[in-house]
Symmetry: D3
Subunit: 290 residues, 6 copies
């Protein structure tokens, strides 16, 4: 069950000088893969499908609900940045390079489809699609997914912050940047509560360790041709981070042979030449088809 | 520049008893969000756009190229599982419940569109879309994204492993499970090389720490109504994982007031009632429009 | 700003006999075009972009927030219907026709991607995409859009109701059917408050009536060939519903002539034959390209 | 069966001064959710699946076919607006700010993919997708859906009309605005023929009235926290529009309790911690997995 | 301008024994990439954007309009195959394996979203998307694209034909197979009219032949590692088909060196480590950010 | 199994003057329907599903692997064109029209989502989707599909070539144009090896010639109304290109009558009026529903 607070915002949203081009950029934080619709739905779907410790279900509901308030803030910021954008052109206005620049920098659908308001779409006008809502049913995979979402989300917020010099927008973004700082932290804190790398990894930790091809479980496979296979790092030597193996480097090799698929079956819509290897047989089939 | 090895597979792929329903399930590992097309393209796009230490560009190329070989293995597994699937029905066959079960359990497009072969789509037939290729331009965000991809990928491989009792398929999946183990490790190893949580976080670490609303940077905001705001955990107390703040719990509050948008502009395609607050003015506008 | 109630549901959700095939069907009510994600986001985006009478902004927030609770109920219903679905197959189980039927009737991604939980997708596994969130910036258009959403939503709920004989599911659906009854009513009530058809129509009512080709504004155009143009009804005679015209029937005719596009431009990647009408000129261009 | 008239247009389409930026805007009326491909396909699919009175099948065919002619008109308008757009840049041209403005304001794919012609896509270049074709199998729901399509379509046409000062384009749009006026009317006329609100509502009217949770069928549920639940209007009091209930306001409450999902199943790819509530059991499972 | 013939079909469509599973398969021919919506829109968009000889614009209109009639036939076939499909389950029916099989083999949205009718979607329920409408502005490229569409379309029709033993459906498909035969022919006939391979190729033929890296214009590049580069065929020796070059085999080599991207810019949301190569500088930047 | 060459490029990629607007245009060649991701995946999926002569499987692997190197070249070209693009705006910079022009001409997500790098998306920011990967299981259909891909790909490369005057970019595009020349040739060479038109056509050539409605297999059907049915050409007279029929022109006619769908079923969510033709029955049903 959810409630709202009459449209009051979680944090103040003001725009000193409306800028339709910035209204377009802000769409990425609403409907982009790094945006707020995604995290709101992601945390809520993780909560609703949560099996296991109730604590994490509760935590996901807490923050999923907060993210709804962030969509609201950003949608408001878009609408305020569009105030004064051209909705009607007079003969003279159409020739004005300033109007032209506004028109070419803005998202046309914010006017054409929404009458000067935000869309649930990204900065290129691509509608949000919920395939980006990751809720895997594995709490550790989900926590890493959430850290990723907040890391790319904070990178986006920082980029938007650097693209604007509007004091109101900078203030709002400083709030969102701070929330992303915390949200990165809190999902990592769950991983620590679950025991950290040695307890959590490999994900899922419920698969028997022996039921994998163990000689490849800690091998860095190099697929480079020629003599350049000299890449080394923490990932090619030393104890693995889960404490269960030893890193080593392994040149790639084709261990699997060449697959042999059967000829195309009768009635399968292939060419006759795909149905038989031998020329005489091909001709006999062709004859029968006349 | 890339090379192939004449179609030879990285690891053996055999199918003891072809199973069209399993061919459908395998599609998730090819074209699903947890699948191999996604990681191949993700690591390669991260490499191609890599700015900064060349070592990580090289590493991403190594593993991105390996993932291409995994798509190849899985596409082969799909084709082998489809051998013998019905491509032509005789009068009697159409009434056979076994044939009917095969038909309803299989992905119709593997036959209708591909002539009994794999598609670049997921288990529901939704084509892979590259919006899932995360290459953020921030190496730490990308590493977390890659861990996520390998964690959900390994969970998927484990689920597929438990759904089949075909010895050949179980063998192939044990190989892929092992590779996912390593790939989880190697991206985490990069984060360790970069200095671990205190050096890496918050992401991006290039944003000045003071340019955020600092009182919200380590606050767990509870959005729960009523008296139940008692959720505690590693994320509500103690030093933050980046060592830069102290966790605390903060009940949600609407700090931002209610936004006021301007009335709809003339020429903006709204209803007249949206263009003015006062009834007399609405009527005057309506009169003028006749 | 939004709040939650600790995961407590708006109405009880119980499942007497879990049915994975019904779990698939329920997805349509979550992530389908007739589903709850769509209306939740639609009403909220309409609210956030609302210009004009504040009353409707408030009303949209009220109901948009309620719809979030409906997603929650349905996601819970999916998870409960999946309990006991096969997550691991033994040698013997794989041959069991009951298991086979469950596997072929269920949505594979509810297990493979979500570990037995709901997805933000429709009954065919197509992820929800926010292009279905209609928020036009015109309050009357939005109200008709909302009536449509609730009409198709109630038709869907009725179909689901008739497909199940599970008492718990039937009870939950009776609640959702009732809410859709009310939501149809409330959006129509707004149209009545705005003055009903004569005041509201044509939408947008802010466009000058004379700035349209008036002889076609109330003409039913028949595009039928031959002698069958005898379709009559309320839409071919009598006063129009907005009281501003008289319906009449008009056989379709091509008033516009045949368009003439210019030849393809140089450098435009067309064939030479598209760049000139005259054979000699084509040959001269071809000569120059060698 | 369908016929064409040799490419002759339903109404004249002329462009006085080609404007590539307007060519981009027009795309919304072709391939946008408010556009002509959508209504053409929507009315035709409604006709082809029509069950019940043949009259409405006929009517839908009539208007669906007309909409094809509107796509044709708009595609022509796009091509004409692109004439003279830059297809080849000379050294000097590339520095010309006018050329630069044309390039940045236009849709790059109209040139790159189509050689200066229209695309079946919206103003942001997102291809039309047929998920927007609503044909619900319920004639009343479809009529409301059609009114919505024509209302948002007319709002779009009005916005385009106000964005251009080209006399030819304004003339064409006046025709399309008139047709949208009529099309709004004609679908509403069907609802009147079907008996108006009391006969038509709630949709579907074939569901027994008693098989819903009746106390919620005419209740406006307020989800607002705090003291602000004072929203009143036509939707909170008086007889409902279908004449079957009395509107009243009901504060939201969580009637449903907190759902309990089972622990994650064995083999389901979850973390061990999700499979058991008790620490000792978690450890025993972990031991068994080694 | 377009006309219809009152819903009369181009060819008879009858169904002897309705089969909901076949109704699902038929969707591929309606809304799949090989289907009729695609070719209808493809030929019409090619016509509407056609620059150059008017004859081909006319021809495209002729056949594009015919394809509309094919969508109509197939949508009718779907509706007829769904008659008698279960729309309401009684207590006993839900346990009936025949009903269960029908339900699991059918497309759930044909009932849930359309009330037993066709959808503009493919056999997996993925809505048609117009990105598949190829209209390149180059008449020769378009003709090859059209041949492809009719070749995959005929392969699909043949596969459907072999999957059914319903006499009515086989009759309808024999008609569609014949039309695809002709349509393959007619697009190839245009290529012959345009002068055949030597005149048409390479596409576009309006690009100066010398403005390409000519030593690679007729070289078959082998990307195979090791000793297996012995693939020969018509494409490795002899005169090229356009008569403008000589085929030869060329082992792949990396001629281009390794690219060097600049470090990540300030303000670009990268990690500090990406902004400088030298450790001391990294530390200085980090110090400045505190 | 695949290998890489340490990021060395197949051909040199240099940019003399970075141009963010051109970086946007280049995206079409990466992630557009005419682009390199599509052909790489198309040829590889065709190879992996290849049934029949092994030679074509090998050939497809050869060229599919080469296309990966083309994505790499283009992604590098995008990154180089973005160097120096504004990542941080100062107070003064925001007012600079040159900066404004760069911002409005560039793809915002290349900065916001990727930190100045290429995306797997087209020039409009629409992510690549793998529905464009055609691998039909019919070798001849696939060859025509591949010719189409290379024809539209070369048209795109030529358009890009004409839009830039950067010497480095022109050099790179001359290489890609040459490769597209060859790739058009090599797929056509396969069709010649398979016997040319008379052996290959109609596709699939494995369907019995008599199992189609033969009188329509070589008829050009004219759907034009009125007297204008005078279109003639190679496709209306003479021997067909497959040598199996005679072209002739056939005016379109509705041979199929009007379909009759059953009334809407009980429980199907339709309106009562759709469930019965007779008014009295409608009323009785309505009575029973109360």
């Amino acid at each position: 069950m959810f409630f709202h607070d009459g449209g009051k915002l979680q944090y103040r949203v003001t725009v000193d000088r409306p800028n339709p081009a910035f209204a377009r950029m802000l769409q990425q934080a609403i409907g982009g893969v790094e945006g707020e619709i995604r995290v709101a739905m992601q945390y809520l779907f993780q909560a609703w499908g949560s099996r296991g410790p109730k604590k994490y279900r509760d935590m996901l509901l807490e923050t999923g609900t907060e993210e709804l308030a962030h969509i609201e803030m950003l949608a408001t910021a878009v609408a305020l940045n569009l105030e004064g954008a051209p909705a009607m052109l007079q003969e003279e206005g159409a020739r004005d390079p300033v109007v032209a620049a506004v028109m070419s920098g803005m998202n046309p659908r914010q006017f054409l489809s929404a009458g000067l308001a935000a869309l649930p779409a990204d900065a290129e006008g691509v509608p949000f699609d919920a395939s980006h809502v990751y809720a895997s049913g594995n709490v550790a995979a989900d926590m890493y997914s959430n850290v990723t979402a907040e890391a790319t989300g904070r990178a986006l917020a920082v980029r938007l912050y650097n693209l604007t010099d509007d004091a109101g927008m900078k203030d709002m973004l400083q709030f969102l940047i701070a929330r992303d700082t915390m949200h990165q932290q809190q999902w990592l804190a769950v991983l620590e509560e679950l025991g950290g790398p040695t307890a959590v990894l490999p994900i899922p930790n419920s698969h028997p360790e022996r039921e994998q091809v163990t000689e490849f479980a800690y091998a860095f496979v190099s697929t480079r041709v020629g003599d350049g296979r000299d890449l080394t790092g923490r990932f090619t030597e030393g104890r693995s981070l889960d404490g269960k193996g030893e890193f080593h480097l392994e040149p790639a090799a084709a261990l699997g042979g060449e697959p042999q698929l059967a000829p195309a079956p009768a009635g399968g819509g292939a060419q006759v030449e795909q149905m038989a290897a031998e020329g005489g047989l091909v001709n006999r089939i062709k004859g029968a088809l006349k």
